[in-house]
Amino acid sequence: MSESMVQIHNVTKVYERGKQKVEVLHGLTLEIPRGDFVALMGPSGSGKTTLLNLIGGLDQPTAGEVTVAGSRLDQLGSSQLAHWRAHNVGFVFQFYNLMPVLSAEGNVELPLLLTKLSGAQRKKNVAVALEVVGLTDRAKHKPKELSGGQEQRVAIARALVSDPQLLVCDEPTGDLDRTTADEILGLLQVLNREHGKTIVMVTHDPKAAGFARHTLHLEKGQLLEQAA
């Protein structure tokens, strides 16, 4: 864990809500080493999701520098950012956000449509990803035929399938019961420890944060402390 996966320097993010301007992040500076598993905690409106969006290349800072996986995201245009996301980051959402019209394997294959892999190679990668999350036997099922925990596993497989170094998780267990949540968090831990994925996870749940290597606390758009 020597070099940095995420470097954020003096980042400010201002949202315009109608005529009102809301500064969500105030000159935030942060560094996350490669291979780390970081939990971002803080009260609602503290800027956790905004920070996660910046790290995942979903949004641009108003000021400051965001460097992730060696790329200055604050300098990339919309299509460059899309290309960067496709190759460098996987996303896991609270409500899974799977495509209801596709089967589990179809959902997992979706990011691979952006690659030049053959159909056979894509199928192979999908099978591996579903095996990692323990859902091989549910490959043909549509999301509505799966439980919440299984849907989240499919979402994790989708995030993994193009082998990104960084996983960005926004409240990945927020919609799950305790047992299932622990299973998902255990899976993320395995991905971090055994597959070397860097994971940044937003959570309200201290128990979920306990699965991370580090926890960062945000309040009113500023980093409060860094705890081991």
Binding site: N53, G56, L58, D59, S78, S79, A82, H83, W84, R85, A86, H87, F91, F93, N97, M99, P100, V101, L102, E105, G106, E109, L110, P111, L113, L114, G119, R158
Partner: protein, 386 residues
């Protein structure tokens, strides 16, 4: 899974809605195909003729008969090779089936219309048998007429001298066309003008509705038209001479501007269709904004997402359009067969081409706005439900 597979899967996310929309697209294209064919059918009356004939009718209206005695005068005009003449007889077959029957001079007609093909012996039989009739192949096939048969035809316009509306003719020949275009013009029958002259009650002896003027090679059609009309100016039988194409178009316009009527109907159909399909597409995009945002999150570019939505619109219109045009083709063929070729509403290549263009234009028209909306959406706002 492929990108096209993903597009089709999305299209059928609301199966009932998509099927109903598809049905409206199919119906619109069935209407389009049939109406466009009707339009083509009426225009075909003008398209297949060459520029080798002129038609002369009374200046006021072709219903006002002209004297056949004008034939030698017209034939004396330099550049005129042959003059035929034709009188509308009408005719009703059996209970109430109207036929296109004209009273003509057989041999003059043969010379003026080399496009009609019939053995010379049958032409001669036609010329030499006063009660003779020749039928076009389409007509003869439709009613299973055979040479030698007596064909009873009634006329609501011209009773016989004894007041009877029932006429009977001896079928002595069946004429065909020299090519497909002319074969489609064989849904007519001709009777001998001499017999008609003597037998009709109205004493129309020696009069005809119009003259068909076959031009010599290289003749100046415009100059000849002017010469003929000038020849009869200020006489009781002033004439109006025009090319056969203009004459046919004018004849069709007696019914109305078919092209304009068809275009307005189609405009109304497609305008309604735009609203229906456009609304479906807009609704479909609106209800999956978060999914589109997820696509962008996964790395699909703005242009790719725009492409997905446009592809959905195109798939919907293409499938509906092709099915609609195919159905119209089948229906048109059935109508044509059922009418024995009188109503030639089979979709030709031209109608299909316009149909394909309409599919592409409609896809863009209904898909572009929702696609642009999908392209513009910001991931963080869409995921947050803003």
């Amino acid at each position: 899974m492929t990108k096209s597979g993903f597009v089709i899967a999305n299209l059928f996310r609301k199966r009932t809605r998509t099927i109903l929309t598809l049905l409206s697209v199919i119906m619109a294209f069935v209407l389009f195909g049939l109406l466009q064919s009707v339009n083509s059918m009426f225009n075909a009356g003008a398209d297949f003729v060459g520029a080798t004939r002129l038609m002369t009718q009374a200046r006021v209206s072709f219903t006002q008969a002209l004297p056949v005695s004008m034939v030698p005068k017209i034939e004396s005009v330099p550049g005129v090779a042959r003059v035929a003449y034709s009188m509308w007889f009408g005719g009703i077959w059996q209970e109430n089936t109207p036929l296109f029957v004209f009273a003509i001079n057989p041999l003059r007609h043969r010379d003026a219309y080399p496009e009609y093909v019939m053995p010379e012996a049958q032409w001669q039989a036609f010329a030499n048998t006063r009660t003779a009739m020749v039928a076009g192949k389409l007509l003869a096939d439709q009613y299973h007429w055979k040479i030698g048969q007596k064909i009873p035809i009634s006329s609501n316009i011209y009773p016989q001298k004894d007041g009877s509306k029932a006429w009977a003719f001896d079928l002595v020949g069946i004429l065909d066309g020299k090519d497909d275009a002319w074969r489609r013009q064989t849904n007519v029958a001709f009777i001998n003008a001499d017999y008609f002259d003597e037998a009709n009650q109205f004493n129309l002896k020696g009069r005809t509705n119009f003259f068909i003027i076959k031009l010599a090679d290289g003749a100046n059609a415009q100059a000849i038209s002017k010469t003929i009309d000038a020849m009869f100016e200020n006489s009781p039988d002033e004439t109006k001479t025009q090319t056969e194409k203009d004459f046919n178009l004018g004849f069709v316009k007696q019914i109305g501007d078919i092209g304009l009527i068809v275009h307005w109907i189609l405009f109304a159909v497609f305008f309604t269709l735009l609203l229906v399909v456009g609304n479906t597409m807009a609704q479909s995009v609106r209800e999956r904004i978060p999914e589109l945002a997820v696509l962008k999150t996964l790395g699909f570019s703005d242009a790719s997402v725009l492409g997905f939505v446009l592809a959905e619109a195109f798939a919907l219109c293409l499938f509906g359009g092709l099915v609609g045009l195919s159905l119209a083709t089948a229906l048109g063929a059935m109508v044509e067969k059922g009418s024995g070729g009188q109503f030639q509403v089979t979709l030709d290549g031209g109608v299909w081409f316009i149909g394909i263009v309409a599919i592409v234009v409609m896809s863009i028209a209904v898909g572009l706005l929702p696609a642009l909306r999908a392209r513009r959406l910001r991931i963080v706002d869409a995921l947050a439900g803003r």
